[in-house]
């Protein structure tokens, strides 16, 4: 379980997160939605100890993220960042291989190599495996980064806008892979989405944020109402029921 208690964050006295309390039990997909600047990425980066906590506590399976050894956490929790910048020049295979680093510390075993191959196949990257990532298209690169995060094989996956740059086919495929690992292996995904209909279709729970606060939190059917969406996004969105799921006509 990821436990976020009374977490606040500010940059130079500008509040970014204000007293966030969230309990995310193991298993299932939680979608984090909200307008630009709501604080979604900031929250994820705190959970993944990418920046220091200012106030409050965050723990993963009872281990406080600020004091637990980084390597121990890396075996439990993986993060895909929104910007996805990789500083060095690597091939797709090398990049994905780094996902296994927390487990083998630089000496990959047979299992590690097999998992990298599996990830290459799973994300349609086998044909690109020896290409350098700076020569890939935006979507191909994003898939390589997602594959690396999957390859880390952790119980918890934090994915910050993983659907960025992906075409419809690969976006659907990624959401279905997440659904599968959540259902079959009881793994946990916390995923920032701007495509609210993907959240409606695949998430077990939706947490909607705005201005550094959690506005609504619950199963898709309860969260995705016209009133709630207006409170979060600031305009009226028509909602239809299609194939038993809420469908938001957010573009009209």
């Amino acid at each position: 379980m990821i436990l976020i208690e009374n977490v606040s964050l500010s940059y130079r006295d500008v509040p970014i997160l204000r007293g966030i309390d969230l309990a995310l039990p193991k298993g299932g997909i939680t979608a984090l939605v909200g307008p630009n600047g709501a604080g979604k990425s900031s929250l994820l980066s705190l959970v993944a100890r990418l920046q220091p906590l200012q106030t409050g506590c965050i723990s993963v399976d009872g281990m406080p993220v600020d004091t637990t050894p980084s390597r121990t956490l890396a075996q439990r929790l993986a993060i895909l960042r929104q910007d996805g910048i990789v500083a060095s020049r690597l091939t797709v295979r090398e990049l994905i291989g780094f996902g296994r680093f927390p487990h083998h510390q630089g000496r990959p075993g047979a299992l590690d190599l097999a998992l990298v191959d599996a990830a290459l196949d799973q994300f349609d990257l086998a044909a690109l495996s020896d290409r350098f990532i700076d020569t890939l298209s935006g979507g191909q690169r994003q898939r390589a980064l997602v594959a690396m995060t999957f390859c880390q094989g952790t119980d918890y996956l934090l994915l910050d806008e993983p659907l960025n740059n992906l075409d419809m086919f690969h976006a659907r495929q990624l959401m279905r892979s997440l659904r599968r690992i959540a259902d079959e292996a009881a793994r946990t995904a916390i995923i920032v989405l701007h495509d609210i209909n993907q959240a409606a279709a695949y998430a077990d729970r939706i947490v909607a944020m705005r201005d550094g606060r959690v506005i609504v939190d619950g199963p898709p059917a309860a969260v995705l109402t016209e009133e709630n969406m207006e409170a979060v996004f600031g305009y009226r969105i028509r909602i239809e029921q299609i194939a038993g799921k809420p469908f938001l006509m957010h573009h009209l």
Binding site: R49, L73, A87, S88, G106
Partner: protein, 313 residues
């Protein structure tokens, strides 16, 4: 493939060493060999420390253009020396015990370097800003050094002069043993960390996500860098672009940034350039005092090319 290229570099480095040791041998052979051996040891150590410190520095700062000396680290060292001469006087400085002075200089240098570099990394400065700051700091230390040097008496000034220019002929062979121990220990540390270095090269956030304690690792690596720079500057004086030159060359030869390959490659290139260059200038061209100038010239060109390439990307 990388292995074959590494082998090629190894061959070149060995050939340079052989050439350096054996070219134009005459007179009392044992004596000459002994002399050359001592000098070779110092050169090898300089090659090792500059190559390794440059690779480490570029990895921690996630860039391929900055080097410790471009960031003004060796200017800092020369400034420290001048300050010592200024405080103690030329005679007092010269009468200091070599090993003791060396140790003190290194401690001072490491402390100052950490005080300068650490905030830069902590604040996540971007490349342009770091470069600007490094160049500015370099100028600051050089000017301070020049100011102090002007206030010295001529004898003390001569002592300072000796310390402030790269000189591959007047190697401080008296410091070789102490320096060699420090260099080897530092290099052993970073060879052990070679896999972790690959992860650190991904950048701060990615490395943290993969379980590297970034703050601790970066601080440790900067410490190693400043020790290595101090050792090489103490031995030959400041060489601004040598590190950049050898790492850029090595990277182009082995075509990978994996540290298990890049580190030895950079060291081998450094040995080839330094030892081979010294031997060629000495035996083929007759005057070796200009190796520093040649290296700086070529290295400066490489620096410009890298900058222009980076700007175009």
């Amino acid at each position: 493939m990388a292995d074959r290229r590494l082998l090629l570099l190894l061959t070149l480095a060995l050939l340079s060493v052989l050439f350096f040791m054996l070219a134009g041998l005459r007179g009392n052979i044992a004596f000459v060999l002994g002399l050359r051996g001592l000098k070779l040891l110092a050169l090898l150590q300089v090659a090792l420390s500059i190559a390794v410190s440059t690779v480490l520095f570029q990895t921690v700062t996630a860039n391929r253009i900055l080097t410790p000396s471009i960031m003004g680290l060796d200017a800092l060292y020369v400034f420290g020396q001048t300050a010592l001469v200024f405080l103690l006087g030329g005679l007092g400085y010269a009468s200091l015990n070599g090993g003791f002075k060396f140790g003190m200089e290194i401690v001072l240098m490491v402390a100052l370097a950490m005080a300068l570099l650490w905030p830069m990394l902590k604040l996540r400065m971007d490349m342009g800003l770091m470069l600007l700051m490094g160049v500015t700091l370099g100028i600051l230390f050089r000017s301070l050094q020049a100011l102090l040097a002007r206030m010295l008496d001529p004898n003390a000034f001569a002592v300072v002069q000796g310390a402030s220019f790269a000189n591959f002929n007047a190697l401080r062979t008296d410091l070789t043993l102490l320096g060699a121990i420090m260099t080897l220990v530092a290099v052993a540390f970073c060879w052990r960390a070679r896999h972790r270095l690959d992860v650190i090269a991904l950048g701060r956030d990615a490395a943290t996500g993969l379980g590297v304690h970034w703050t601790r690792s970066a601080a440790g690596l900067l410490l190693l860098v400043s020790i290595l720079v101090a050792v090489s500057t103490a031995l030959v004086g400041p060489v601004a672009f040598f590190g950049l030159l050898v790492v850029a060359l090595a990277e182009r030869v082995v075509k990978t940034q994996r540290h298990a390959v890049l580190l030895p490659a950079a060291v081998l290139v450094a040995i080839t350039v330094l030892v081979g260059g010294q031997a060629v200038l000495q035996h083929a061209l007759g005057g070796a005092s200009t190796l520093g100038v040649v290296i700086e010239f070529v290295g400066g060109l490489v620096f410009l090319i890298l900058l222009v390439q980076g700007a175009r990307k």
